[in-house]
Amino acid sequence: MHGSLTIWFFIGVLLTCYGVLITGAGIYELYVPPTHPPVLSQLHTGIWWGAFLLVIGLFYFIKFYPKKS
């Protein structure tokens, strides 16, 4: 659209980073449980929500990666 990078690519980059960070934090909590866990912490929301962000992020990142003209 404008030049070679679209907004969808930026969204892909940010969500991929967030996916990695949040999944990582969720996995860390699995091994080092927090002192005051949130309600429903047994569902390990950080892991599956982080993985969800990672999938969406990678989808946008790959699909809208700037192609060489």
Partner: protein
């Protein structure tokens, strides 16, 4: 629930990293887009090159400020599902009307702004009245939102108010200064994603904890047997049968017709996003796409408020009573965030709130820069400058707008009572403006004098009604038609009356004055505008088809939650 330091939440390093990454990204987008904003059309209208999806998401995101998120979640806790009216009947019909009826005139007239349309249709006085009131209100609202956001950040995170104000507003200033509306729109789309992905987790986990929708309703009925929090229309037959103290006529005519149509079809903050669309079809599809997402917003805003009624152990209270460890209604979203989110997710949730604030502020600032540059500066001070000069003025208006907003934020800090009046002040201009614009678009006989005097009388009468009730609270029985009506109902009815007065004056003065010749109305008025037909397009590409789809879903949702 409350951290030892008195703040609601404590952020971990990973949360701070998530928030920091967001700031880096929005600034990076601004820097990247600077190279594409060279002309006035680029800076003020994003080159009129946006797809329907980008314009549509930006259209909704500009309205989704963080205060909107937290405020309406709090209202859902206070008033129950009635708050969803502001997202459904208070938005969807107006957005669809904008798409089908009004957008062709805005787009075909090639105006830069809503005041710009008034100039073409009614002349300079109407434009100036609307531009000055819009500029004033936009900056004021921006400052007040900024202060409120900083206050929230202090309450929930313990951040210093000045730190929150300066960091977030200078970031917005930087990316709008660099890339203009293009940068604002790109960031709004990004912010839209973050708001959804950060907030929907609360609804999902809340429903899991409450035992689904039926479990939540059952818990609310058990805990709050004296009020009906779960029906949208059932309690609206009488002012005293619902927690909001409003009658269905106020919701349908005041909110659903005047306030909603006024805001969604004439407030330049949102209309500017649609004017940036690449063609008329995209400009019509953008509000339709926006309406579909707007219809879903209650699932991230209203639902957490309802879930809080079902699951939060403490009872929340009004702002004035929130002392000695009690929490106010407006803290419901952060409380739910703290309830369910661990490290990382908490950072994402806070980023969603900050993103909401920044999208709203960027909307205000970019709209202010356009109206100031084209409708005030160019019209009154420098008519014949180069395009590059106007771009430069627009950039510096961005700086000016942000600095004045910051000044307003500090002013509000000293005189907090200003905040009580702002919603009323804002509504003074919205309802009559809708009357003026809609008569301008649909009635050829409306004259420049009719448009101007209608707008002026509608605005003045709205202010007079507000002052009357302030001086004599019993006057509410005349304005809102019942002594049992509450503030919200007064706002609805005052808007309705001011629209009626604006319309009546416009009609009477127009009939007494000379209309413009038809040749001057081409592209501005129904009957004198050649609107391209979409009948040659396949059904699924026609805006009217999607209006029907959204309309059907809207009707079904209202029936389900009746």
């Amino acid at each position: 629930m409350q951290a030892a330091s008195g703040k609601l939440l404590s952020l971990s390093t990973i949360d701070l990293f998530v928030i920091g990454l967001y700031f880096v990204m929005v600034l990076g987008i601004g820097l990247y887009l600077k190279r594409f904003t060279k002309t006035g059309e680029d800076f003020f209208l994003a080159g009129r090159d946006m797809s329907a999806w980008i314009a549509g998401l930006s259209f909704v995101a500009a309205n989704l400020g963080s205060l909107e998120l937290m405020g309406w979640a709090g209202s859902a806790y206070q008033y129950g599902i009635l708050a969803a009216h502001w997202y459904w009947i208070g938005a969807i019909p107006a957005m669809l009307f904008l798409a089908i009826v009004m957008m062709p005139f805005y787009y075909i007239s090639k105006t830069h702004s809503v005041p710009g349309y008034l100039k073409l249709r009614f002349g300079e006085p109407s434009r100036m009245l609307s531009a000055v009131s819009f500029g004033f209100m936009t900056v004021l609202m921006s400052g007040i939102n900024m202060y409120s956001m900083a206050l929230v950040m202090r309450i929930i995170l313990g951040w210093d108010i000045s730190f929150s104000i300066w960091v977030s507003s200078l970031t917005v200033m930087a990316y709008v200064f660099l890339g203009g509306l293009l940068s604002a729109i790109f960031n709004e789309v990004l912010q839209f994603f973050l708001i959804w992905l950060g907030a929907i987790v609360i609804s999902i986990l809340g429903l899991v904890e409450a035992g689904g929708w039926s479990g939540m309703v059952q818990k609310i009925h058990e805990r709050w047997p004296q009020q009906d929090y779960t029906h949208m229309w059932l309690g609206l037959g009488s002012f005293s049968d619902n927690p909001m103290g409003i009658h269905w006529t106020g919701i349908v005519l005041g909110l659903g017709f005047v306030i909603s149509f006024g805001y969604w079809t004439t407030d330049f903050l949102v209309v500017q996003r649609v004017l940036a669309a690449k063609d008329l079809r995209a400009a019509q599809m953008a509000p339709i796409i926006g309406s579909a997402f707007k219809m879903a917003v209650p699932f991230i805003v209203i639902l957490p408020g309802l879930l809080a009624l079902a699951v939060l152990p403490d009872h929340l209270v009004g702002e004035a009573q929130a002392v000695n460890g009690l929490h106010s209604y407006n803290e419901v979203l952060p409380l739910m965030l703290a309830r369910y989110c661990g490290p990382g997710l908490l950072g994402l949730g806070i980023t969603a709130l900050i993103a909401g604030f920044m999208s709203g502020m960027a909307g205000n600032v970019s709209a202010f820069a356009t109206v100031w540059t084209y409708d005030i500066y160019r019209a009154t001070m420098n008519k014949n400058a180069t395009d590059a000069h106007y771009v430069s003025v627009g950039r510096w208006c961005t700086v000016l707008g942000v600095l004045v907003s910051i000044g307003t934020a500090y002013l509000v800090m000293q005189f907090a009572s200003i905040m009580d009046y702002v919603q009323a002040l804002f509504s003074f201009f919205i309802a009559p403006l809708f009357g003026t614009v809609i008569f301008g678009m649909l009635w050829k006989r409306a004259t420049p004098a009719g448009g101007f005097w209608g707008l002026l009388c509608g605005t003045v009468s709205s202010i007079a009604m507000w002052a009357w009730v302030k001086l004599d609270p019993s006057a509410i029985r005349y304005i809102a038609l019942s002594p049992h009506a509450k503030d919200m109902a007064e706002n609805m009815y005052r808007a309705l009356w001011s629209w009626i007065i604006c319309s009546a004056v416009t009609v009477v003065v127009s009939l007494l004055t000379t209309p413009k010749p038809n040749s001057e109305l081409a592209g501005l008025v129904y009957g004198e505008t050649d609107i391209p037909s979409s009948s040659a397009l396949p059904l699924v590409q026609r805006p009217l088809f999607w209006v029907c789809v959204v309309g059907v879903v809207f009707t079904i949702l209202n029936i389900i939650f009746w």
